[in-house]
Each structure stands twice: as structure tokens, then as C-alpha cells.
Amino acid sequence: MNPDQAAQAAQLPRRIIKETQKLLSEPAPGISASPSEENLRYFNVMILGPQQSPYEGGVFKLELFLPEDYPMAPPKVRFLTKIYHPNIDKLGRICLDILKDKWSPALQIRTVLLSIQALLSAPNPDDPLAEHVAKHWKENEKEAIATARQWTAMHAQG
């Protein structure tokens, strides 16, 4: 930790420091999250596409930001890698209840990221953020999954 980071860390709530340490020392399988050097509230996240999902084999980049009132308010999370998914729109915004009204301060960065990983395994076209993707999913799931696979190969590999 350089001196600049140390100064920042001194102002961080203990909870964030502890969460960060744990994320680095015991990362969840298929997930990596590390704070940015300039801002310790900003995390660079990578999630591996879950097995048996159309995202398998892809590496998805996300950004995660802890707002001032975290953990009373939920973290802000967004996909940076393009992804074809009914609950994720083209700007990478995620439709997930725990990121909104179902947030509880007892949840953590780790639980949030695990939930997002689970969302990749189980898309929910009935509560869509990306209307046309969801429509595609409901009308022709096979074709939609093929498109998702295509996008994974195109955007999330290499």
C-alpha cells in the first residue's frame, strides 16, 4: 500500500476496509474484485461466466462503487463488458432486487457479486430491464441463448 492509499484508507469506514481485505484474501470462486488505486471505494470486478450458461467461457468486467452512505445504501454496480441478458441493459445496468429496494446493510460486496453471478445462470425475462432481449428470451429461448453465446464469444473473450 502506497502512502496515498494509506491516507485514503484512514478515512474509510472499518467495514469497507475489512470487506476489501477479505475479498482480496479469500476471493469467491469465479469472482475477483480489487479496489482502484485512486479511489478505494471504486472496485474493478471480473466475473467468469458460470458453467452451463450461455456466458460460459466469458470473462465479464464490471465496476462497483460504494457510495458515501454505504452500507446503509446499496453499492452501485454496472457491467462494462457487453452482454446479452434480459436483466442487463445495453449500458450495463443491472436489474436486481438487492441492488434496490431489497438491499440490507447486512449484505456485502461479496454477496452482491455472488447474486450477479447467479443472475447470469438464471436470467429472469419476466422482470426485464432490456425489453427486446426479454421478449426474444420469452418467444424463442433457444435462439436468444444462441445470441447470448455469440455475444459472449464476441465481447467477453480474448
Binding site: P13, R14, K18, E19, P71, A106
Partner: protein, 628 residues
Amino acid sequence: MSDDSEEFRSGSEDEEMSDYGASDADMDVEDDDDDYGFAGAEEVSTVPKVPYKVLPKEDLNKQREKALREVMDVLGIDEDTAMRVLRKYKWDSSRVQEEWFSKYDQVRESLGLVDEPGPSGRAACEAEERCFICFDSFPVRDMRSAACRHYFCKDCWRGYITQALSSGPACLDLRCPSTECKQKACVPCALVMELASGEEQSKYSTYMVRSFVEDNSSMCWCTGKNCENAIQCLVDRGPDEAMDVICSCSATFCFNCKEEAHRPVSCKTVKTWLTKNSAESENMNWILANTKPCPKCSRPIEKNQGCMHMTCSQCRFEFCWLCQGDWKEHGERTGGFYACNRFETAKKKGEYDDESRRRENAKASLERYMHYFERFDAHSKAREKARLDASKVSKDWLEQLADITKTPTSQLKFINEAWNQIVECRRMLKWTYAYGYYAFEDADRNSEVARHKGFFEFLQGDAERSLERLHEAAEKDLGAHVTKARNQADGGFDADAFQTFRKNLIGLTDVTAGFFDKLVKQLEKGFSSMEADYAGQVDDGAGPSGVNEGGEQAAGAAGGPAATGTTGHKGRRSKKARGVDEDVVLLGEQGFWTCNKCTYNNQDLTARRCEVCNEARAGPGGGAGNRR
């Protein structure tokens, strides 16, 4: 206004009139009983008890406490729990009792009510434990939990509560933040109050009071400006059933949709109508109907005058309005400046048909809409004006008048009543235009709908004319009396003229109320039963062919002589029952027959066609009988 007397009489015959507006009991006419020929007036009961109650703040709190107390006593629970279960069942205490006793466990589970497993013994415990929100450790006695015993430090609780309070009334159902908490235990009110700041506490209390109105299906807030009253509905309402209420602050609105009061029109019609009025789509419709795009730059162009030679004001392109071709190819050889042979030929071939038909349709529909909207809007504005006038009259003029006429203001109540009637009728009238716009869309294609429309417009017209007379009397005649009396200072007051004015105004108020009652009742009942109603009446005298004939009769009544529409049901029935032949006699007595199409009263009783519009005369002596 030669038929005034006729309508006065008919107004008194209508036994069901005036459910609203002028209350006959309050009219309080002391001098004579048979005044203005209103023999029936006394029979009309007092204003019906309104099906709702206005609750000022204090009463509201009392009601709320009463509701809480009742549930606490019957269920044997504390106030906090009573609040929760009442909120869940929308403050319907009988439902609360039913559910509580039949599904005790389910109800408690859904509310996050958890039994505390005995005393925790933590109050004095010095040992430290970790808070799972901030990850710091605290002495156990300084930590708090809901009944589920998931402990967090006070600071984290505070943050959690602050966050919840800032997100609205949902904070009343705050649950344990722990992800481990399977029961989702509710956070007790006492804990919120212990940790919240003063400001937050009062916010929380406000939410609790508001819940009594906002979560309660039989309550709503008054929509009046700065009014803190609540309205309690005292009857069972069907879902989406409109109910007009008048708050003590004089705001009037619909209990169901919170829009301005709109009886007899349904909430749904009101909503569609208002959306339509505010929607841009009508502008688009206008552009579509009245403009064509410039063939070069596509800007919409309205042709408001002149010949077919157009020059776009934007790109200066010159073209022919009809065929939209370059003007260079036009002139004498294509038919001159006001026609276009190219267009005519193309039209014959059908090339322009679709577009021009669409244009025609759009234009027709827009005109129809404008017709209704203009009237809706005019009555709306007239009502606003009448409201202002009414308050001016009751504030300034009444006292002056009382001085001049040397009568107590209570005796001048009839003026207030007339004005209230005007305001109320303007409101009803304006909504009937919204009704008319939607109810008779098929009038051009469906003769039955057209008949209904005719009848509706007849009732509406009666009501409208009567209201205009009343409004005029209340505005001009009253004004004249006041000015005259003022000028003559004392002694010169013409008591007789004032008496006449009073009789006249009370009469008009009553007649208007009668007309509006009839209109409102008919709209609420709908027109589908209209045929049946009339058929029944005809059956009495005219035998089995009644149904068909009923239709004709209904149409006859719709456009028919004023007497038919304005007499009470009883009168009409007996007249119909006498049969067709006697109608001829009746017509003779009346001295005219009314055209079904243009409603002109023809004096020539032998004429077979209307003097004005040349429509064949319906009914006896006319062509209607032969039409079938």
C-alpha cells in the same frame, strides 16, 4: 320564454327531483303554501344523508384511536402490533378479527411478529460482540435487536432507520436487517423511537397517522388546497365506483379517482377524457387533417386561403396544392388556378384516395372532438366564474340586500341556493359532454345509438336551457335589483318586484334541479333499457307490436314536443296509455307539432313535412306509420 309556466308545472310533478342542490326543506318560505305552484315541493324529503363524513384533524385522531383501541381490546395485543395488523388489512377491523382468529400463525408470520424467547439477560452484559453491519465490536449491552435477537450496534441501527425513514411510509414495516433473519422480524416502534432523532420521530408518527387514511379503503384526504380534513366513506362502494364528496372547505371531488366531482360520468370516462384533452395527439390530428407536407422539404403547410399555387415559406418551392407537383407544370392547361386536372385524373384512377380519405376521417373526428371539447371547456369556465360570483354574492350582496329589504339574511338563502345550483349544474353539464363524446361514437353507423344520442341531447338541451335561464336570472335580475335598491336609498325599495323575483328564482332553481336530476339518472341508468321502458308504456295501450313501436315512440319523445319530455313519468305514461288516436287530439290542444330532426315547433298541424328542414313528419298524421 313562453313555456316557462309549462315547465314550472312539470317540475313540480317530478317527484324524484332534487337529490342534490336546492333543498326544499331549507327553502323556508314563510308566507304562502301554494307559492309558485309548487304543490309537490313539500313532499320532497330533506337533503339525503350524505354517504360520507368530513373528519377534521381532531376527529380523525379520535377515530384512529378508537379503531386501535377496539382491536387491542378484542385481540389482546399491544398498540404496535395492532397498528401492524390494522395496516395489513387496510384498517378493516372486522376483517382483522376474522383473519387473526382463523389464521393466527400466518398473520403473525406475514407481519414479522416473533415471540421473544424469554429475557436475554444482555442488559448488563459487559462482553463484546461484533456488529455485522460495521464489523466493529461493542459491549453487548450497547447493542439492539428486534425480537429475533439479531444484534447490531446503535449507530448502525440509527443509520438503518434514517435510511428507511427517508424512503417513505414503507418505513412503518421495517424489518430486521440481518440476512440470516428467516422470520424477517419487524423492528418494534419503540426501537425506532429510541434511536431516531426528534425530527425523525415526528416523521414516523406522521406516517402512522397518515396510514389511517392512506391505507384505509374507506378514507381519503381532501384534495382541497391546504385542507387537512379527511373524508370517510360510510357506505360500501363497488370497485371504481365514483362518489362525489364536498368537504367542509368547499372542495368538491370524486372519492374514487380524486378528480373534480363528475357525477354522473364514470371515473374511467373522466380519465380518458382528461388524458385526451392534455394529449398532443389532438394537435397531431389537426396537422394531419389540415396540412400537407411540402413536397420538397416536408414541413407541414396549412392552406388557409387563396389558389392552389403554393409557395413553401421555408424552402420557396412552388407547387400545386392538389397534386403536389411542381407548379411549373401547371397553369391554364391543367385547369387554371383553382383546379388541377392532373389531380382529378389521378383521383379517378384511385391514386389519391387513401390519403385523402384518411385526411377526411381525421378532420371529421377532430371536428367531433372540438364540438364536445368547446362545450366542456365553456361550461368549465362558466362554472369557475359562477363560483367566484357566488362567493361574491354571498359575501357582499346578501348583507346589503338584507339591509335594503329589511329581511334577515336567513330569508335570502334562496339566492345562495340558486347560485349553488348553478355551480353544481355547470359542473354536471360539463361532464355530460365528456360522456357524450364517448357514449355515442357509433351514432353514424348504428340507428339505435343514434336514437339514444337524440334522447340524450334532448335531456341535455332541456337541462342546459333551464340552467341558462337560472343563471341569467341570478346574475342579471339580482344585479338589477341590487343596483336599483342602492340608487333609491331607503324607502324606495320595490317589495313587490322583489317578491316576484324571489318566486321566479326559487322556481327556476327547482326546475333546473329537476331537469338535471332526470339527466343524471338517465346517464347513470344508461340508455340500453330506454327502448324497453318505452315499449312497456306503449304495450299498455297499443298491443303486441309494442316493441318496435316503442322504438319509434322513444325517438318521438326524444325530439318531441317539450311537454312529453318535461312532464313527470306519470304524466307521460297516462298520455301514452291513451293510445295513438288521442295523441292527435293532444297535438291539437298543444297547437303545434315538433319536428324530430330539427325540433322546430310547426304551427301547421296538417303539414306532412317540417317547415324548416323539410323532414317528413313522424308520428300521427306524418309518415312514420307508413315507414315500417
